[in-house]
Homo-oligomer: 240 residues x 2
Amino acid sequence: MVVKSQIRLIKSLQQKKYRNQHQLFVVEGIKAVNELLASSIKPYMVYTTATHVLENISHSATQISSEILHKMSGLRTPSPVLGVFHIPESKPITFTDWIVVLDAIRDPGNLGTIIRLCDWFGVSHIVCSNDTVDAYNPKVLQATMGSIARVNLVYTDLPFFLKESSVPVYGAFMNGAKVYEEKMPEKGLLIIGNEANGISKEVAAFITKKIHIPQFGLSTAESLNAATATAILLHELRRA
Amino acid sequence: MVVKSQIRLIKSLQQKKYRNQHQLFVVEGIKAVNELLASSIKPYMVYTTATHVLENISHSATQISSEILHKMSGLRTPSPVLGVFHIPESKPITFTDWIVVLDAIRDPGNLGTIIRLCDWFGVSHIVCSNDTVDAYNPKVLQATMGSIARVNLVYTDLPFFLKESSVPVYGAFMNGAKVYEEKMPEKGLLIIGNEANGISKEVAAFITKKIHIPQFGLSTAESLNAATATAILLHELRRA
């Protein structure tokens, strides 16, 4: 039996305001729900419409009708499994390795891909400006492919954070040094700028080293996408 | 004056079948339309709802009502400019440089990002399996950011194409050699596999060199996204 207030609560979690208020987020799809159940992220509730699906779920699930699932879900065609999880508390940042710092990343797909890249390249901490898209946005979660459970995310005021940091601060700029001609230090901050405007002036003031991913050929391509640039830069940091 | 048959034609171009039949495709948004007008791709028609927007359009545009634009558009909230362009003819493939070969890339965002990456890294030819998503799909075009006009795209039967090739064939596999420990040749084919299944058996039979992007740390991340893996591999080819 699911009460109306519960349905309303879960539906409201599509919005950042209510995710912050309740410190809960929603994940849909059997694979994604199972990945989070296997992680350190704490489940709040799991719902399913299908009894046969329950066998593959590593947590007790409440059986509901597809009518109720439609009311809870953010998808046009809901998957038979919906999980509600507690937003994990941010851990303190330690400056012992490279840290990725996001300056106003707005596209949920880009943030999800960057989280997945950090997981792949063993970057444990991601510091996001307060105007970066919310990591518990359903579209971000879809793109992270479970990596959200393996990185520590902190939202903060970037200039305030950067003022406190004592490690080198790297950022990509058109007039930076060729990234593969640089000897990278063992730790530092890697700033990734906004999709349209790049790194903001306020944040750029803290950059200690400008780097650049060289273009090739005669193309008039404007720039690399934020997520593909992050892929290349993390690869360069780790091969060093 | 726009006749009904014209509206029907343009609306139908949201579907691959009709794009192929008419050899036309649709681009929406002033920036994207202007980029294509400045390229070698031939315009068929440009429509706009706003007179003040016309000044920024480098091609004569037919003024229409927003009611008619809504009927033509593939967007819920149409941009005031819609362009219809001729699909350019594929040029013959020349084996003088690296060529990117896509084996069943299905996600429009991934294909668009890969086209943009090829443009950035000066890769002129992209060979797609017949089951790769159509490059003139509106979601692909949105992600290419104008790069579609600067690369040559060919859709073909990959085993047939690979049989005819005499250059090295590289592909990413978990058991491949570390990509940054390899000396890359000056030309070759770089195969990018499907998002879920990787490189197909049929295509894998033609691989002459397996490479691998090393993971870092203790993560259980499954894999890199097809587009981010392409970013790192193209960067490695070009830095060689």
